[in-house]
Symmetry: D2
């Protein structure tokens, strides 16, 4: 059987924007101490890594994290013990993008969007990032608004241009999402669309699964398993939801689903060194941000630890015997186990506080940033 | 059989906020010519009524439409041929409301929220509005965050306080919504909750059905029929959606559903003078706003006209004979009919342009407002 | 804090039909040893109770469990240590019911259906059952097929006739279901409809929540909390699902949801002696039936035990302080705890085998019934 | 602009099993006059073609339509003016298939299943059928029950064996379905899975879209457009639904969706001679079967006629101008048009009765079959 200590090999990437303000279309509630710039976001990410030992990289979002000197930003991160993770392109917040970015009917807008994506590869070069993460808000709101097929042609063309620019060690991660902000069609609505484009592009393109981006009832672990088998699972954007793309803390809405996803990962021996980026992508609209991110890291660890506890031999035996209840019981035994004591031990062995959330509250960091980060403009989705 | 001309009795209320900017959490795309204040919103609403002859009232949203002198605002509307429709309370955009308004665990916040609702009744008095429309964003994002039952107690208490303040000819319309912005529980998530509170409150409380606020698969016309039978259908917030609360133009996503809803209305003889307020509640994020609202009014008219075409005797005969296909065919015959020629005739008889959208484009209004409404701050959800 | 040992007060009712064959519209897979008649079903139910100590009643389904002498059947149950639970009426399997039972447009069919419901009350009298459980397959498949409002009138009338026949200690439990077998409208599609009819009927009518009968995204624990507050939660039909009414083992698809439901029950002090019947309603299409039912009983116990572990004071404190993460953490701490060791202890204290599933396999019962129950017609949904 | 008369080129295939009894897991309601064998099913299909002129082929389902002499069956069809359409394999109704067919953990069951699929190709040879349609009920009901990845391996292997057996003019159509009868995972749950396997197999494999097999909110016309662009749209199984796989008459639940699907077909010039098989796959559980099938053919014709009415030049102009409302209006103008008069004219020109449903009722066929088809065993899903 596997050793739960393997969970220490799991690296979770936190997103710079989760440290900033976020909200719904109805209201963004500001929080005290929120970063005003990318440097402060990275400082917060470093706190999460220092306390968990499991979050060694931070993802950037351009233009939200635009700075004059990206090498300096990467140096700042490195000084704090962090690497730069994926560069997330943003082609949905300019007025030009009202009807789409790379799929816009206007070729000038498409050129502008592609130029931004290429700029993101430049930033990858400057920061040492290996992954370009692409999510397109592109789509239509009304039947007839645009040609679905023509938009696919434009999408394919833009992706090729960007793909060709990638360096030998750089990847393109193509995310999909059912809806929002587009409300009739979305140009990359499901894993099939993302996968098909990745196949056309080549080996450096892989699918990114955001756990909140599916139609109701979609079996996410099936997609995980399928893409693992096909060698095209590039990354996760972890979060959770009860309804649509709610962006709650991962594991908060359906911890059993998270466990089933990690079970697929573990059973394919892909928890580490398999080229899968495990990233968070969440919105802490009403809860304290840094503790929520720490909690999210712990939730992924707990799910992974339980997945490591699955007795693979017993499972395989029950499966091949066609014993439905026995096979299910093997899985449930692992899930029902309380792995928190063992994880606390593992942290202590690593020289970490066994309870990172409590350690955060005891650290004084929150009081510090609330006192220090006064004035200026708090970071949010718009900047 | 009924006369399609009855459609002229159908009055559709347009919402002041639909003339202003709106968007998603990702981006609000500003449009040229958008109103800067309630006076300009009402001016736009008057254009819609002038061209359609069917939209004689405009709903206000407080505080978005806050002015110093509400009587003057009502006078302004009247001068333009409009009445003031429902007053829509807003208790979701202050920082205090992060964890709820009337259901907030903090009694001070609850008092503040109730005070706002009472202020809205004052505005009803001042403007002659007969309907207080209540939609609560209240809810929780995480399991355990608050007590579901305690929140119902607080909700009931607040509703009672407001209900008691209503004048003899004033009503309370209680809207429900499955989710957003709350992502775990919503305090009034479905028609059953709204209906139960209305029963407790008394005769002046009725349910408002927003067509976009249901779980996937919900049969809206069933709810319409049930509430009509129970005498508690107070209003509609019309819009349409493919996914969640997309707020697209009514009839754009599922015109057959809109027809089925109107069929319930017509078959209960409730198209006019039955105390049902037919309101639009939409977000024209990417399309031109005034033409979209005109189009929405026409869509409701077309659905109503088709519903009036249903051969009620033939339908009843087929239903009581248990002839499934014949009964369905009666309904589909009406739905398949192109009612637009007849509606154009009816408009011409009323002295209206038969094609209100074309008439709008020919009117020069759009060019006028784009030229005039320069400077200042465009109205939107935040103001 | 509560004592987990309270879980021993929780009584779970198993359904006679779950011991029989079931399947989908595509295929019913027969299993060896399945009962051929109600007497054998009750024998199996007794095994479940003997091993778990938690399933002291068995629900019957008429006509599937029709016998000549109901008193003798009750005696048979009593001899095996069981009581008779709810009598479940079945008005959906005669050819007459093609277009509905109590809501059928044909009054003769309605009379026939009501007569069956009254017969069920007779059976309650004969067996000592206190609960009449009503689920209506009634509805329509096509728009226009029948009048939604007229069907509500017919429903109300039938319910009144049956309600008036109830004895002083008998209840009516009215179940709802979104869809299937009706595919356009269902006459009792949601809790609101059931609740409204119960209010009209009187104190002896209460709502039955089948956990698999909701639209996607419905928050079931909200309904639980609402009905508890209103004093109208009469029963559960427990099962689980990933999609529609899949009727999987309770707790198999979303154990966290089951915990949240039990948390509402426990926090309202309604785990026992509160008039709520906790019933299973499942289909073990491909898994062994008796072990699956035992497992289901254990799953409900585990969820209840975790709910009993919730630190109510800490939860209330965090809630009233508006500390979202702390409140959620209190809940999650209880959920993350492995309660199986404590439940095994409690069983041992009761003189039960700590592992009822293993005890079943060791008991020889399965081999016995497979050897004995040869010939005859296996029981299923059709008989 | 296109000519609505093009609709005469649209050929719709009817399924033999839709003429037989069907139902839900709760009840199959038998209908008078239903066929007792494949010969009678084909006779009914011939009536539909004779009256509509649009349904020249009939799909078979093996083993439901198993006969001793398939050449004779094809001759029987030809004598009645029909061709044999797709051969639909059935590997879900033997007890062996309880845990799957081609993905079963037991290799003996997999061999049996593949043998059946190969037999279906033999039947294609014997009947002149060009299409093998594969839908697999395979999947699991419980997490852990089987390995998702191993099942994909088995699936791929089986498909390859069958694909290699296809003749040069024969195709494999691979259908997908979200759920039912499997309730946790389905081995071909979505178009992406089907498409990926088709890519691996080769040019003779294409995707079959059953309109009722998607998660809620899925945009079906997007999938249509994507597969058309990729050259992998092989067939439709038309039907409609409000909830899950309801199998109602196509166009009954959402006629606007059907129109949008046909719009994608027409705009890709794929209404005829493009290798797309337009098939019905429906269950007429409570309505008269032959008239329901005729009605379904008419519904597809009406949607196609409306799609042909779309002013493609105006649409393209509005789309490239980014005029959302104008583009949508072009589509809605076509949809709002009543095409029934023109379709009646076209039928008259073809020597058909303009109203095929009325013609059926006048034909005496129903009375004839009800009188003649007495005794024997009515056909249904089980035979």
């Amino acid at each position: 059987m596997r050793d739960v200590a393997e969970v220490r090999r799991l690296r979770i990437e936190t997103p710079s924007w989760a440290y900033a303000n976020s909200g719904t279309r109805f209201k963004v509630f500001a929080q005290a101490g929120v970063p005003r710039d990318p440097w402060e976001k990275i400082a917060d990410a470093a706190v999460v890594h220092r306390l968990t030992g499991a979050a060694p990289t931070v993802a950037l979002h351009i233009p939200w994290d635009r700075v004059d000197d990206y090498a300096a930003l990467a140096k700042h991160a490195a000084d704090l013990g962090l690497g730069i993770g994926a560069i997330n392109a943003n082609v949905f917040q300019d007025d030009d993008y009202k009807l789409g970015s790379v799929t816009n009917p206007d070729p000038a807008v498409r050129r502008k969007a592609v130029a931004h994506l290429l700029e993101c590869v430049d930033i990858m070069d400057a920061t040492g990032s290996k992954d370009l993460k692409l999510w397109f808000a592109d789509g239509t709101n009304y039947p007839g608004q645009d040609s679905i097929r023509a938009r696919q042609d434009r999408l394919g063309e833009a992706l090729h241009q960007v793909y060709d620019r990638l360096g030998p060690d750089q990847r393109m991660l193509l995310e999909y999402k059912l809806f929002e902000p587009a409300f009739y069609t979305t140009d990359v609505p499901d894993w099939g669309t993302s996968y098909a484009h990745c196949l056309e592009l080549g080996e450096k393109a892989a699918v990114c699964i955001d756990t909140g981006h599916h139609a109701p009832g979609t079996n996410i672990e099936f997609i995980v398993a399928f893409l693992l088998r096909a060698g095209r699972l590039g990354a996760f954007d972890f979060n959770s939801r009860f309804y649509a793309d709610d962006d709650l803390m991962v594991g908060a809405a359906d911890p059993f689903q998270l466990f089933r996803i990690l079970h697929e990962i573990v059973s394919a021996d892909a928890l580490a060194d398999a080229g899968i980026a495990f990233m968070l992508d969440q919105c802490h609209n009403i809860e304290a941000k840094i503790p929520a991110i720490i909690r999210s890291v712990l939730n992924v660890q707990e799910a992974a630890a339980k997945a490591l506890l699955v007795d693979a031999d017993a499972l395989a035996a029950a499966q091949s015997a066609g014993d439905v209840l026995a096979a299910n019981a093997v899985l449930m035994d692992a899930y029902s186990t309380d792995v928190r004591p063992r994880l606390r031990e593992l942290r202590a062995e690593q020289g970490l506080d066994p309870d990172p959330v409590a350690a955060y509250h005891a650290s004084g960091h929150q009081q510090e940033i609330e006192a220090a980060r006064v004035g200026g403009v708090q970071a949010g989705w718009g900047a």
